[in-house]
Symmetry: C2
């Protein structure tokens, strides 16, 4: 954890916040707080700065903070992701938030196991927690929007044209003839489930203007493929 | 799992192997085997091909296989990695193997917790298992060499000049002035621990010809940073 994300309800008066010490595990890097300790903090969806721990009483730390800097620029990439297995979802959302992705659509696909949609982890609070962990790692404050779409076809036909308007549209597909390469921003990137999108689904995305691209002969897990694709399509810039 | 890695001791006669069904969990994709089922297989450090399950008896599957194709080209990147916490080590080695990295040096650094070196996971068998999972994902057979060096300075001064000879030498360092960008292959890439290398360690690597490079204002976990760096320094090619 490189930044402590302040939630609006934790701010008591301008420049002061009360944080439950139990909000983070003891080994979370910046934590546990001790009087006088300096922390990097940021306001959820707001600016970044520093805080000083004033006191710790009955499990609550009081902080005096000053927020000066804007959060880093977002990655201009909208992610369409076939819903991964719940254990992997956590890590993928955290990575996506780390990378600066701000719009994530979790989609159904033929090879998504039906049971994944029943996972108790798929509630907005949990999804936000996973993303918050990525923001606190990457020193960012802007919470990604995560939307669930358990029906692929109506999403692609009715919503996607507006979402992807004006963007480079790509679907990562092992075995595609074209290699992934740097692309004009913004990018809308679709990543399939384990086993990939079906030919029908690639066709459906093709009708919506999505070209298939590959990363070569290696088939990567979505956890590895996402950062590789992000860096390949939109190479890091100052 | 996209490939089943055959170990030499599992091969009984040319073209035939006996595999314990318990070697993989039931949900490992290609598994469990059933007579007639076709699998993609590869011989450890050898060629890739297909196998047919002939029969399954008392927990042992007999396979008839034919190996035709060479494994994919390695990624020309030698990785120097400050030893991550044990839970993360597993995922990072798996990712490194997925990406095609074949030489991995696990190093000490000031900000590596001493306890990490005591982990029971740091035995060759486990390290190979983690790498094997990456190979079986990425359809590769060539086992990375993983070496442990619990003393940084003698490694950098005595061994590294030979290891890194003729390569582009880079150390990923949040806050470095230079941005990471495509680099001439081969590359030797050093990645520090959580909290980064110290200034002294950056200096030590500097004397060994390593330039510091950054990925921008975001500080990524090593799990995310590794695939981003691999794709940035050596963009995917056909």
């Amino acid at each position: 954890m490189n930044l402590l994300l302040l939630h609006p309800e934790e701010i008591t008066t301008p420049g002061r916040a009360l944080i439950h010490v139990s909000r983070y595990p003891p080994r979370a890097g910046l934590w546990p707080p001790a009087p006088g300790r300096q922390l990097r903090v940021g306001l959820l969806d707001g600016r970044i700065g520093t805080a000083t721990v004033e006191q710790v009483n009955e499990g609550v730390a009081s902080l005096a903070f000053d927020l000066r800097d804007p959060p880093p620029a977002p990655l201009p990439l909208t992610l369409l992701l076939a819903l991964p297995r719940p254990k992997m979802l956590r890590r993928v959302l955290r990575s996506a938030a780390e990378l600066g992705i701000k719009a994530i659509w979790l989609l159904n696909a033929t090879r998504v196991e039906k049971s994944y949609w029943q996972s108790p982890l798929l509630v907005p609070e949990r999804l936000r927690d996973y993303c918050a962990a990525g923001l606190e790692q990457a020193i960012d404050t802007v919470m990604p929007a995560v939307e669930l779409r358990p029906r692929l076809k109506p999403f692609v036909q009715d919503e996607l044209p507006t979402i992807a308007a004006g963007s480079t549209r790509l679907v990562a597909h092992p075995g595609a003839a074209a290699m992934a390469t740097a692309a004009p921003a913004p990018v809308t990137l679709a990543i399939g489930p384990e086993g990939g999108f079906t030919d029908y689904e690639i066709g459906l995305l093709g009708e919506a203007g999505f070209s298939a691209c590959s990363l070569g002969p290696r088939v990567l897990r979505v956890e590895t493929a996402l950062p590789v694709l992000a860096a390949t399509l939109l190479p890091p810039r100052d």
